[in-house]
């Protein structure tokens, strides 16, 4: 890689400060801050006026589908998708085939990731064997092999196992992630229970399906005083339980997907399988309240719940198509366009929700621009608009809910550990992607 000069670039840091600085990347990908420079020394110069450098984002909820469902996604495609989205660290959920419920599979995943991933991927282990909710998995052993946290994602952890897991996880200060849904109340539901489900007579998922599970989880967190993280909240009614948990200083954290901040059951075509996700898109009020909860610190993290499926599966009819939609590529652009550009929040807030808080909750490093160290950042251009097309996706699933929409803020290049892992075609003409 030739030396690249970044001239007068606005850089955001994880301490939520930002300043315009000059720096260059040397051929081994090290960052060097500059007080003064001679432009003629550099083959490639980036002039900073509209360019912004950001810390690498963390996505604590994705599905890389490895092992067993590589037709939907694999480590190579998934990590490229993350790189395209400005993401440097992701968690991959264990609801695979087979379920990642033992150390051997975590070992396999880690070696696969080491071989094929361009950025950091942390495996999440299953809480119960085969996610059946009957027996506890060997959490400690999986932790030693590299599991970052534990979850039966895709389904809730059964009450008995969750209680045991929370108590056991204290041994090693582990985090249990629960998917809050009462399957009895969901009962095969396809969309949010509300005006539309009633009008079309469609099986539906009521608010309470999530709410009763959140209440249960908070109660167990209170009893065990262990670390519990609640995945992909969708309803405003769940928030009060988490608010109470925070007031009581319980170790409860939570996340919301970017999609649930932007879509609700009224602003999408409800029978388009691109929008078929679980939890379902709720009502407009939920969408607003979830965002407010982020701002108030009730919800800590924004994730994608990147859940890719094959085109064949997503082209099935609405009742048979699987739940889930990809999100790695679009998460930052979607947040930037919908919230930062409309002044609903600042870039610093995005950094808080997708860099700082994930690092705090799961005790992982922050990856950002630092002098005399390997480059870790992504760069985007203000006011540059992109039309979202299937060709933009590195994920094997190209059916995004943002297809054919216009978004600003797509990363132009992403650097991880000194390597450029993503580069837009029209950016840094002379520099080759690694």
């Amino acid at each position: 890689m030739d030396k690249i000069l970044f001239k007068n670039i606005l850089v955001y840091f994880s301490d939520l400060s930002s300043k315009r600085i000059n720096f260059y990347l040397d051929s081994s990908g090290n960052v060097n801050f500059l007080d003064s420079f001679d432009i003629s020394d550099y083959k490639e110069v980036l002039d900073g006026e509209d360019l912004v450098v950001m810390p690498l984002l963390t996505d604590v909820h994705t599905h890389m589908r490895v092992p067993g469902q590589e037709e939907k996604e694999d480590i190579t495609s998934g990590s490229k998708a993350a790189a395209r989205g400005g993401i440097g660290q992701i968690f991959t959920m264990p609801n695979t085939k087979p379920v990642v419920d033992n150390a051997y599979l975590v070992d396999y995943l880690v070696s696969n990731i080491d071989k094929n991933s361009s950025m950091k991927i942390y495996p999440v282990g299953a809480v119960s064997k085969n996610q059946a909710g009957e027996e506890l998995s060997p959490l400690l052993e999986m932790k030693r092999s590299g599991a970052i946290a534990f979850s039966d994602d895709g389904r809730p952890i059964t009450t008995n196992i969750l209680r045991k897991a929370l108590i056991y996880a204290k041994t090693f200060d582990g985090v249990i992630i629960d998917h809050p849904e009462d399957p009895v109340l969901s009962d095969g539901g396809l969309i949010h229970e509300g005006r539309l489900s009633r009008a079309y007579g469609i099986k539906s998922i009521p608010y309470t399906s999530e709410e009763v599970c959140v209440a249960r989880d908070v109660a167990l967190a209170r009893e065990t005083r262990s670390r519990l993280h609640l995945a992909h909240l969708s309803t405003r009614h769940s928030l009060k339980y988490i608010e109470i948990a925070k007031e009581e200083d319980l170790n409860v954290t939570s996340e919301v997907t970017v999609n649930h901040l932007i879509f609700n059951c009224e602003n999408i075509s409800i029978f388009d399988t691109k929008f078929k996700v679980n939890p379902p898109f709720r009502e407009e009020e939920d969408m607003y309240e979830l965002f407010n909860a982020l701002k108030k610190g009730i919800i800590d993290i924004i994730c994608t719940d990147h859940a890719p499926h094959t085109l064949e599966e997503k082209e099935l009819d609405y009742s048979q198509a699987p739940f889930g939609t990809p999100g790695l590529e679009t998460v930052f652009a979607a947040l930037y366009t919908n919230f930062v550009m409309s002044n609903k929040c600042a870039l610093e807030d995005i950094i808080k929700w997708m860099v700082v808080n994930p690092s705090k909750v799961f005790s992982i490093p922050v990856l950002e621009l630092q002098n005399n160290s390997k480059a870790n950042f992504f760069i985007f251009k203000k006011n540059e608009e992109f039309l979202v097309k299937p060709e933009m996706f590195f994920s094997k699933c190209k059916l995004s809910p943002f297809l054919d929409k216009k978004l600003f803020g797509f990363p132009l290049a992403t650097f991880y550990n000194g390597k450029m892992i993503y580069k837009d075609n029209n950016f840094l003409q002379t520099v080759k992607e690694i």
Partner: protein
């Protein structure tokens, strides 16, 4: 001009009236010694029922045959879906048989809308999940108009399992277009209080109060095999509190009684009521034929852009 009959929601009032006008003409055909007019000679109608049904299918079949169309019944009965064939493939296969019209019943809401993407035939929804059953609603409204002339201000009570009923939904959307005062009655699990606001109807949980000033009652079938059973404690309890019997009608003996059939006599309706002079249940069946003839004529009986021109959709990938 609708190109498919999927729902009564997007059916224009004048279109419904046109269907009724022609249905009146077709009623006459049914009284002829030769019950046949060749209006759809050479047209192919497929009835594709993913859910078992005899009477609706027979009604469509007789309607098509009376108009001279070739009607072929396909018993898909979920068998091909069990073999792993998707509904999309099933429809592409059916489309390759060059039908002019496909009458479809499926256990999942909105499937008829979905398959319009994969066939050039006109689609008639013969019942999709708990969503709609537009031909039933049209024949119900037609029967009511035969009796009342005008439905505006008439209180039409729909009694029973509204939650799981496609007949109820199609009727609510359609009867409101005619200005009828639509009321729903049943236990609160089956007649949700949200319906009142969301559908702009009156909700009753007390049958006597609901019957009081009703002009007609559409009694819904309690589908024992369906979810309804989970929402009511027992059929005995249901029939005591929501079964229609002659005692309930003492104060309103002029009210017309309809039922889409098949009836559970003694459960949602007593035999005495079902066989009374006010019951239009048999008339509904005959009207059903005329309405379905009229629907076919409406969709097929004239020059339409792509009728008969079967586009080769097999290669197209369309969104949903």
């Amino acid at each position: 001009m609708i190109s498919h009959l999927l729902s009564t929601k997007n059916l224009e009032l004048n279109e419904a009236l046109e269907i009724f006008d022609n249905a009146r003409k077709f009623l006459e055909v049914l009284d002829r010694p030769t019950k046949k007019v060749p209006i759809l000679k050479g047209k192919l109608i497929l009835t594709v029922f993913f859910e078992p049904s005899t009477r609706t299918r027979t009604s469509f079949e007789i309607a098509g045959k009376t108009l001279g169309a070739d009607v072929v019944n396909l018993s898909v009965s979920q068998s091909s879906t069990k073999k792993g064939e998707t509904i999309k493939d099933t429809c592409l296969t059916l489309n390759a048989m060059k039908p002019d019209c496909i009458v479809i019943r499926h256990s999942v809401s909105k499937i008829p809308d979905y398959i319009t993407n994969f066939t050039s035939a006109k689609i008639v929804n013969a019942g999709d999940g708990s969503n709609e059953h537009p031909s039933q609603a049209l024949l119900d409204a037609f029967t009511l108009i035969q009796h009342f002339g005008d439905l505006s201000g008439k209180k039409i009570l729909i009694l029973g399992d509204v939650l799981n009923s496609r007949v109820a939904r199609s009727n609510v959307w359609l009867l409101k277009k005619f200005g009828a005062k639509v009321s729903l009655c049943g236990p609160s699990t089956l007649v949700r209080e949200e319906f009142e606001k969301e559908w702009d109807v009156d909700v009753y949980w007390d049958l006597d109060e609901a019957i009081n000033d009703a002009d007609a009652i559409i009694v819904l079938r309690i589908q024992l095999e369906r979810a309804a059973s989970a929402w009511i404690p027992s059929t005995r309890e249901y029939s005591i509190f929501y079964g229609l019997n002659s005692k309930r009608l003492v104060n309103n003996n002029k009210v017309l009684i309809m039922h889409p059939g098949p009836m559970n006599r003694g459960l949602e309706i007593s035999s005495e009521v079902a066989d009374s002079d006010n019951a239009l249940i048999r008339k509904q069946v005959t009207n059903g034929l005329a309405i379905r003839m009229s629907i076919f004529y409406h969709l097929l009986g004239h020059k339409v852009d792509n009728i008969g021109e079967h586009l080769d959709k097999n290669t197209e990938q369309r969104g949903y």
